[in-house]
């Protein structure tokens, strides 16, 4: 008998089904992974199992069954839940030590030598023992997550539920989080349910469940799953049949193709599932821009750009150059200073120190900026669109803000809608649409005035695999057809692959700035960008 069994769990929020008929089994000491995009139903299922949300179906844990949060109450001392979001369970004015004491007390654990020993072990595993006096607010993102994890572990839960513990965390801390988890499940026999947005982490899980729009589409060990899709994965080749799709680095086809096979990643499962279901995956296209421009050789040059918030230095003397027609990837964990940097470039934050030259003009006053606004396109982190206006209304609004002629705007809008594949969503409200559609139409809004440079802040965060691949196709096409420069931030280290040049930020400092080829040359042993960046984090601690 399984130690944990979920039977046909369905969670609905306001008549919208978040997850449907999810079943799974797990044994003591297993790590069960949930992989999928935002809104795929991972969190909803986790909340149901943790006994904090109502659901249909039943959960059997340690021989006891519950069907509602109320029935789960007696089992709560055995369950530990760490919700999504960095440092969400922490209090920024309490120190590391006070946190552990607080979580011990609210769990009503009596003081004992074995508790003290366990507590010390947790601190050491998390590498936090030198920082017990430091307030949580002054810890880095990775340290915060480690502290959250050991706080969740203090009552020795037998069922650990971690909702995206590694999202936005630097690669080294991510490895450390997995190490803690591995040790705990071995020594305590804990079942861990872990969700993640990073496919690479699947290798560390005993069993993987893939989530796609409210359903579990596949499950098994990582290697089992990869085996299943290996026969459909090819080196990129043009598609000839309908049940075929080509992404940045693969071609997936259900019908046999005359092309060399390529070892897939778990992402392949999402594409093949979509192909099997006969989903229409729109083909991304970009036609030439209407107004030809000469892109200057250096689009943006920052010298010693610095931003402080009180004592905290968000960006510390950063030099950066964005050349004409290149895709520059600004990488780093959450809190590394990526967004702050972009906001300084855009003039949304005043620059505390340093010089900035945009499109050959040194920027000093707000007035100089306004003249440049017409050449810049920007997509912010939350795809800021007006939620009470339809896609069409939004686009028309932005077009008139850029004083585009109505006829021309109309034509451009319908062309972008067709090329970027959101034509059929034109009269819907953004809040009713999948994140991937919102992402593409935000980019369309930023392209209406045909800018020379495009700033994109975390455009792929939380977006599903298919939409992400389409997004990168769109970006590369834009570079090719329009020749414009694109600065893009991301915390997915693997996306570095698609950029021309990479700048890596770590806690407000620039630690790497090189082209993709050079980085590969520098670290010939590294298998992926993940590993390359790991060097930068290990080196300078």
């Amino acid at each position: 008998m399984a130690d944990l069994e979920l039977k046909k769990i369905t969670v609905t929020h306001k008549r919208v089904v978040a997850i449907k008929d999810a079943s799974l089994r797990a044994q003591e000491g297993e790590i069960v992974g949930f992989i999928g995009a935002d809104g795929a139903g991972k969190s909803s299922l986790m909340h149901a199992v943790a006994g904090v949300a109502s659901f249909e179906g039943e959960v059997v844990f340690k021989g006891r069954t519950f069907r509602s949060p109320k029935e789960a109450e007696p089992l709560k001392p055995l369950i530990g839940l760490m919700p999504q979001g960095i440092g969400l369970v922490l209090y920024k004015n309490l120190t590391v030590d006070e946190h552990l004491t607080f979580f011990t007390k609210i769990r009503n654990i009596p003081e004992s030598p074995s508790l003290r020993e366990y507590r010390q072990r947790l601190l050491e595993m998390a590498g936090l023992s030198p920082f017990t006096d430091r307030p949580a607010g002054k810890l880095s993102g990775g340290m915060k997550q480690k502290l959250s994890l050991i706080c969740t572990l203090i009552h020795r839960p037998k069922l650990l539920i971690l909702d995206e513990p590694t999202t936005g965390v630097d690669p080294l801390s991510r490895l450390e989080l997995w190490d803690i988890l591995d040790e705990i499940r071995k020594s305590e026999g804990t079942i861990a349910l872990v969700s993640t947005a990073y496919m690479e982490e699947a290798a560390k899980m005993d069993r993987v469940y893939l989530f796609d729009s409210g359903e579990i589409i596949a499950s098994g060990t990582a290697s089992e799953l990869l085996e299943k899709v290996a026969e459909y994965s090819y080196e990129p080749t043009p598609c000839t049949t309908r049940r075929c799709i080509t992404t940045m680095d693969y071609t997936y086809s259900i019908d046999p193709l005359d092309a060399p096979r390529k070892t897939p990643t778990l992402e392949a499962l999402f594409f093949i599932n979509a192909l099997r279901e006969g989903q229409q995956i729109p083909h991304i296209e970009i036609s030439d821009r209407e107004n030809k421009i000469a892109v200057p050789p250096v689009v943006m040059e920052a010298k010693g750009l610095t931003k402080r918030f009180g004592d905290f230095v968000a960006d510390d003397h950063i030099d950066m150059q964005l050349r004409g027609g290149e895709i520059l990837g600004l990488l780093g964990a959450n809190g590394a200073g990526k967004t702050t940097f972009i906001k300084m470039l855009l003039g949304l934050y005043p620059i505390d120190e340093g010089e900035l030259t945009l499109l050959g003009k040194p920027i000093k006053s707000a007035k100089e900026r306004r003249e440049l606004k017409a050449s810049i396109g920007y997509v912010s982190q939350q795809f800021s669109l007006y939620k009470d206006m339809t896609v069409r209304e939004n686009l028309h609004y932005f077009a008139s803000m850029h004083a585009l002629d109505i006829g021309k705007a109309q034509e451009r809008i319908s062309r972008y809608a067709k090329e970027l594949g959101f034509e059929k969503y034109m009269d819907e409200l953004p809040s009713d649409l999948p994140l991937g559609i919102n992402q593409r139409f935000s980019v369309a809004a930023a392209l209406l005035h045909e800018p020379v440079v495009l700033f994109l802040d975390e455009p792929t965060s939380g977006v599903d695999a298919i939409a992400r691949s389409q997004f990168w196709q769109m970006i590369t096409l834009l570079k090719k057809k329009w020749g414009i420069s694109i600065l893009i931030t991301t915390h997915y280290m693997s996306e570095a692959e698609y950029c021309d040049r990479i700048v890596l930020l770590k806690e407000g400092k620039k630690v790497a700035d090189d082209s993709v080829e050079n980085l590969y040359k520098k670290f010939p042993k590294a298998k992926s960008f993940e590993e390359i960046f790991l060097h930068y984090y290990e080196d300078r601690i």
């Binding site: 306004r370 939350q382 939620k387 009470d388």
Partner: protein, 359 residues
């Protein structure tokens, strides 16, 4: 101009799509004003009366028979003074009358007699109005040597109903409050949704954005004013219009900009809609108190009277009152227009500068 129109259209679409906001505006401009007019009653009405009659009838019953609807309920008899006191204590009776046993005798013999009157004066206005009624009734029984009677000519508001004035004052307060909150909301909603930055990055002159956004809310407020005037003031309360309706709408238009100016200031310092609500109430309350909407200005402390000169609502209320009830001609309204426009431009300019600094 095209951009200006696009901005306004966008705000209006946004307004009509948010049902909650539309409902609040509709409620405020109709039911809320109606309730204020119909519900706040200053006159004595439906007052409960209890009495103890130890005389055995006669004069006492004659007096009691004069207490009738709508001012008084039918007097209820109590057997003892204690029972009457208890009833007043329990808020069942508001006015208690005690005719002592020698009342009839004193009246006949000495032509002088006393009635004991117990008043629940918690709702002071109502109980003193009741007292006044009783005195008037007794006056008719008193045998005066030199009877002088008042012949009253009620001007401007012949029925002396308070509901008309209350409804109008409430409408003006609603205009103030909504003008502030709606204007602040269009900016703060952008801050909350994260569209603020996108707005900053459009190559449009910030001045134009601020002007268009606040103007769009002035349009909504003006639509509300027209609706409230037609449906509630004229429809439900038969408020007379002795002056020019156009003058009133023009004055309202200037005033709407005044409250939009306060709204701009609120928007500049608030980060969320909750802060907007709190701050608006905080700013609005003194403005409304000082305006004379609830207390006549001449009854205020002299210092407050001086302060009321800087409440733009004061000029607006006095101006509107003159238009509706007094029928003051357009030319003679200049002082009210001057007050509203002067204070309005100061407030609007200040708010404009304040929010402009965020761009």
């Amino acid at each position: 101009m095209k951009i200006f129109l696009a901005l306004i259209t966008k705000e209006l679409i946004g307004f009509f799509r948010s049902w909650g906001l539309v409902a609040v505006v509709l409620y405020s401009f109709t039911l809320d004003i109606y309730i204020a007019g119909a519900g706040i009653e200053m006159q004595a009405k439906n007052i409960s009366v209890g009495y103890v009659d130890e005389t055995g009838g006669g004069m006492s019953q004659k007096i009691l028979s004069r207490l009738h609807m709508p001012e008084f309920q039918k007097p209820v008899m109590f057997n003892s003074r204690e029972a009457l006191s208890r009833s007043i204590y329990n808020r069942e009776t508001m006015v208690g009358i005690i005719f002592e046993s020698d009342f009839e005798k004193n009246l006949q013999k000495y032509k002088r007699a006393e009635i004991n009157l117990l008043l629940d004066s918690i709702s002071a206005t109502q109980s003193f109005q009741a007292l006044q009624y009783l005195q008037n009734i007794l006056l008719e029984y008193a045998d005066l040597k030199y009877p002088v009677k008042l012949k009253i000519h009620k001007l401007f508001n012949p029925n002396a109903t308070t509901s008309q004035f209350m409804a109008m004052a409430e409408m003006l307060s609603v205009i103030t409050l909504l003008g502030v909150i709606l204007t602040a909301a269009v900016f703060v909603r952008e801050k909350e949704n994260g569209t603020w930055e996108i707005m900053l990055l459009t190559p449009v002159n910030p001045k134009l954005i601020i002007l268009a956004k606040s103007f769009s809310q002035v349009i909504i407020v003006m639509a509300g004013v027209v609706m409230a005037t037609g449906i509630v003031l004229f429809g439900a309360f038969d408020v007379p219009i002795n002056g020019s309706l156009f003058a009133f709408f023009l004055l309202s238009f200037f005033y709407a900009f005044t409250s939009a100016g306060i709204g701009l200031f609120v928007a500049a310092v608030s980060k969320s809609m909750l802060q907007v609500a709190q701050l608006s109430i905080l700013i609005m309350m003194p403005l409304i108190f000082l305006s004379g909407a609830w207390t006549p200005i001449h009854a205020m402390h002299p210092l407050l009277q001086d302060l009321s000169l800087i409440s733009p609502l004061r000029y607006y209320i006095e101006g509107s009152e003159s238009i509706f009830f007094r029928g003051t001609s357009f030319v003679d309204l200049w002082s009210y227009f001057a007050g509203v426009i002067l204070l309005g431009s100061v407030l609007y300019f200040y708010g404009f500068r304040k929010i402009g600094r965020l761009f």
